[in-house]
């Protein structure tokens, strides 16, 4: 199996602080990879580096065999990499459907003059975008609220909408930054199912969280980060058995997690 | 033309210009540092300070040492009405405050035009005369400004660093909610900071009117200067005001003396634009997160 995404020796420094150091990992097509680690372990920075929100100090990111290191986010979206954000990020004053349409923008942008004069081509593209968005809304159960303002939705729905915005660009790889943060247990299970269904569509998933229980029921493999570096990588079972992981991360939290 | 006397005179002029810029910019930076308000009405308060001094000192003949702080305090306390009516809606809203307070500046300045007519008048100097040291000449009125600016700067610095209220202000500047949770009455703190800032603007306006001239439109220039000084030094930073004021004052004096007036303006504007583009938080400020 060839890697869809391949990260080599990624490094990022903020002033004197090293947020990510010498990080390497691969993600295979169709895989769900979990990235786990305590707060401050560099998980979000790692995602930011891969999704182009901030450029790496050094290192290399390859996507489908192509060097995409340091490309800005909109370029990566064009190549099939999207992400969501930890805090819910939707366009609060707009309808749910409009949110989806904005996510579909790049893949279905007909060109400046085409859209200006609303050519047949532009209308066709728009119809296609609408179809994509409507299908996604239907698929993730937001059709009923499609004309509601996104800001008025319950928190869980906003998170789903965030995912719809990302999926509307029809990506090959989606990166989810703490998709269950702030959600109750029932909602978290729902999100886990959703992510599995996303993978079922052939989309590769990277998901960040610090909740091991959530992750172990979801991910094919888990990457454990500690102080900006890779501590371990493997199936959830392998990682959980890794003495370095237990010592550095799970050691003091194991009991707490078991109590959940 | 590079004689020691010319050089000395340029240094002296640089110091006196720096002093007036520092004085004008102190209140501006305080309002920004604590309430995140870009006070584009700063010039209007400087102008009001000028008129207050004109009446209290020039017309009623109150002794200068009392008249100067008294008239500034009068303006600051009267301005509390505007704090309630206008400013409080703009706290922590940097963007809105800029446009909204430009509106306030317009309203105050043109009210002043109706009241006082637009023509220029003068406020009598407290100390007229010159001091001559080795061929270099220093007008006494500017010496006074240098003294007051130094004292104000030091007082400001010590106040925010060490006094109870100063510390509370700094806490409020860092995080309003945490400050409130610690039992700091932010409304009160804001009002205190506001009064101090307007007091400084009015005091500086008094000196400005005395050194130059008094008119309803006189605030434009001090505002521009305060604005440039604060951007140079870093918005909200008090040492930044000192640095920004000194850079601007000396740049104007030296470029003006050795290269001419237009060069000085082009250079300072250009430098500020570059700074805004590459380091918008200024030389001594801290970037926003």
């Amino acid at each position: 199996m060839t890697a869809l995404l391949s990260v080599t020796s990624l490094h990022r420094q903020f002033g004197g602080l090293t947020a990510v150091r010498d990080l390497s990992f691969d993600v295979a097509e169709g895989e769900i990879l979990g990235v786990i680690g305590p707060n401050g372990a560099g998980k979000t920075t790692a995602i930011n580096l891969v999704s182009g929100v901030i450029p790496p100090t050094s290192g290399r990111v390859e996507f489908r065999g192509e060097d995409v290191t340091g490309l800005p986010p909109h370029r990566l979206v064009g190549r099939g990499i999207v992400r969501t954000f930890q805090s819910t990020t939707v366009y609060g004053d707009r309808t749910v459907r409009e949110n989806g349409m904005r996510g579909a923008y790049l893949g279905l942008y007909p060109g400046f003059f085409a859209t200006l004069f609303d050519t047949a081509h532009a209308r066709r593209m728009r119809a296609e975008a609408t179809a994509v968005v409507d299908e996604l809304l239907d698929w993730l159960g937001l059709t009923e609220v499609a004309e509601d303002k996104a800001g008025s939705l319950p928190y869980g729905h906003q998170k789903t909408l965030g995912m719809i915005i990302a999926l509307a660009s029809r990506p090959r790889l989606i990166m989810l930054d703490e998709p269950v943060a702030g959600l109750g247990g029932g909602d978290a299970d729902h999100v886990r199912d959703t992510i599995k269904r996303v993978r079922g569509r052939g989309i590769t998933v990277i998901v960040i969280d610090h909740n091991m229980r959530f992750m172990s029921g979801l991910c094919d493999r888990v990457l454990v980060m500690h102080q900006g570096a890779r501590l371990a990588v493997g199936t959830p079972q392998q990682v959980l058995a890794d003495p370095a992981v237990i010592e550095a991360y799970l050691g003091k939290r194991h009991a707490a997690l078991a109590g959940h | 033309m590079l004689s020691p006397i010319l050089l000395g005179q340029a240094v002296v002029n640089g110091i006196s210009l720096s002093a007036i810029y520092i004085l004008v910019a102190l209140g501006f930076t305080l309002l920004f540092g604590i309430m995140r308000v870009v006070n584009f009405a700063h010039g209007a308060f400087a102008m009001l300070g000028g008129y207050a001094l004109y009446y209290v000192y020039g017309r009623w003949g109150v002794p200068y040492l009392i008249a100067a702080p008294l008239s500034a305090l009068g303006v600051a306390l009267a301005a509390l009405v505007l704090e309630r009516l206008v400013y409080r809606w703009f706290y922590q809203k940097m963007f809105q405050s800029m446009i909204g307070l430009l509106g306030l500046e317009m309203a105050i300045v043109f009210t002043a035009v109706i009241i006082w007519d637009p023509h220029e008048r003068s406020v009598p100097a407290a100390l007229a005369g010159i001091v001559e040291v080795g061929g270099i000449i220093v007008p006494t009125d500017k010496l006074v400004i240098v003294g007051v600016a130094a004292v104000a700067l030091a007082a400001f610095y010590l106040f925010t660093k060490f006094s109870k209220y100063g510390l509370a202000m700094r806490a409020a500047a860092q995080d309003v909610e945490i400050a409130a949770a610690q039992g700091i009455d932010t409304t009160r703190i804001y009002q205190l900071a506001f009064v101090i800032a307007i007091f400084m603007a009015a005091l500086a306006g008094g000196f400005y009117a005395q050194t130059y001239a008094l008119s309803p439109l006189m605030g434009e220039r001090p505002l521009m200067m305060a604005f440039i000084v604060v951007i140079l030094g870093g918005m909200g930073s008090i040492p930044g005001v000192a640095l920004g004021g000194i850079i601007l004052g000396f740049a104007e004096s030296f470029l003006g003396t050795f290269y001419g007036g237009s060069v000085a303006v082009f250079a300072s504007f250009g430098a500020v634009i570059l700074l805004l583009i590459f380091r918008p938080w200024g030389l001594l400020g801290t970037p926003e997160t």
Binding site: V53, P72, H74, R75, V77, G78, V82, F85, Y91, D93, R94, T95, E98, M101, R102, G103, Y105, L106, G107, Y109, F112, T115, L116, D118, R123, R126, A127, I165, A168, S169 | V38, V86, W89, F90, F95, Q96, S97, M98, I99, G100, L101, L102, G103, L104, E105, M106, A107, I108, F110, T111, V113, F227, V265, F266, F269, V272, I273, L276, I277, P280
Partner: protein, 326 residues
């Protein structure tokens, strides 16, 4: 208006239907004015309104990306000088002047845009403020080209026929319909959707594949080019250009027009222009009072009424309807 026009479902009943009909009716009425009113002053005032409306709408376009420019009049001035010099120095026809008036500020905007549009909105305000001053100082200093502070006098009308105020009225009305129509169309297109997305959440828009900086620079350049055309129309209308006509005060006036009318829809700057130009004619002789009124409106709008007069009107209309309905 933007969000409504985008999904095909919403397009027909809302954006495509009524507003277009209203706009067409307004233009038709405006086109009839010179046939009914022969007063040259009214017609001249009409030209001024249309020219200012173009300038204000072009600033609105930039504001929609989340950046308020306090140097917009400088670009208007560059357009005015470019057109005047093309016509007077190169002896080319007015059409070439208009082209130059679009291209010159557009190129300058393309050059500085990538630098200044990286800044957040608040720093952008400050940078454009200073930049506008520098441009004005260049007008003053570059005497051999711009005529310095005394400007350029004796500018010909676009064609002899345009010495007639009624003809100029139609010229500026035509330009207004064309350019404001272009802006409206742009805002209602996919580009408009991207503009709104960028303003509302730059991060999310960027990560949804919108080339944020490129979009902002393009829009900024377009806005500056359009205001350049407004500058050309103004220069050949007043037949005199000088640096004071394009100072920070004028830039601030354009912002005032937008803020008063409302910054959320294109109708805002149009309503703002009308208010801004008609009020002084009613209050001529009370200039101070005008400025005070404008000042207070700025405060109120920025503090409480981000939608400006348009929002106020909308609320009033709702209230009336509710009363009528009950």
């Amino acid at each position: 208006m933007t969000d409504a026009s985008l999904s095909p479902l919403a397009l027909a009943p809302r954006a495509g239907g009524r507003p277009l009909a209203i706009a067409a009716a307004v233009v038709a009425v405006l086109a009839l004015v010179p046939l009914v009113i022969a007063d040259k002053f009214i017609l001249s005032l009409g030209s001024t309104v249309f020219i200012t409306a173009i300038a204000a709408a072009s600033l609105h376009l930039i504001i929609r990306t989340g950046h308020i420019s306090l140097g917009h009049a400088a670009f208007m001035g560059i357009g005015a000088y470019a057109s005047v010099l093309t016509v007077m120095e190169l002896g080319l026809p007015f059409a070439a002047g208009v082209l130059a008036a679009f291209v010159a500020p557009c190129l300058l905007a393309l050059a500085i845009g990538p630098l200044v549009l990286r800044l957040t909105g608040k720093y952008f305000v400050l940078v454009t403020f200073l930049f506008g001053e520098i441009v004005r100082m260049v007008f003053v200093e570059w005497k051999s080209v711009t005529g310095g502070a005394n400007g350029i006098f004796g500018i010909p009308a676009p064609a002899p026929v345009f010495n007639d105020p009624a003809a100029y009225y139609y010229l500026s009305l035509g330009a207004g319909v064309l350019l404001v129509g272009f802006i409206a169309r742009l805002l209602a297109s996919e580009v408009g959707r991207a503009i709104d997305a960028v303003r509302e959440s730059e991060r999310l828009a960027h990560c949804s594949g919108i080339p944020v900086l490129r979009l902002k620079v393009t829009i900024f350049a377009l806005g500056c080019g359009i205001v350049g055309i407004a500058g050309a129309l103004q220069g050949h209308f007043i037949r005199y250009v000088d640096p004071t006509s394009y100072s920070v005060v004028q830039s601030l006036n354009l912002v005032v027009v937008n803020v008063i009318g409302g910054m959320q829809t294109l109708v805002g700057p149009l309503v703002g222009t009308l208010f801004y130009l008609i009020l002084p004619e009613m209050l001529r002789g009370y200039v101070e009072l005008q400025r005070i009124i404008f000042g207070i409106i700025l405060i109120i709008v920025m503090a409480f009424l981000p939608g400006g007069l348009v929002e106020l009107g909308g609320r009033a209309l709702q209230l009336v309807r509710r009363r009528a309905g009950s």
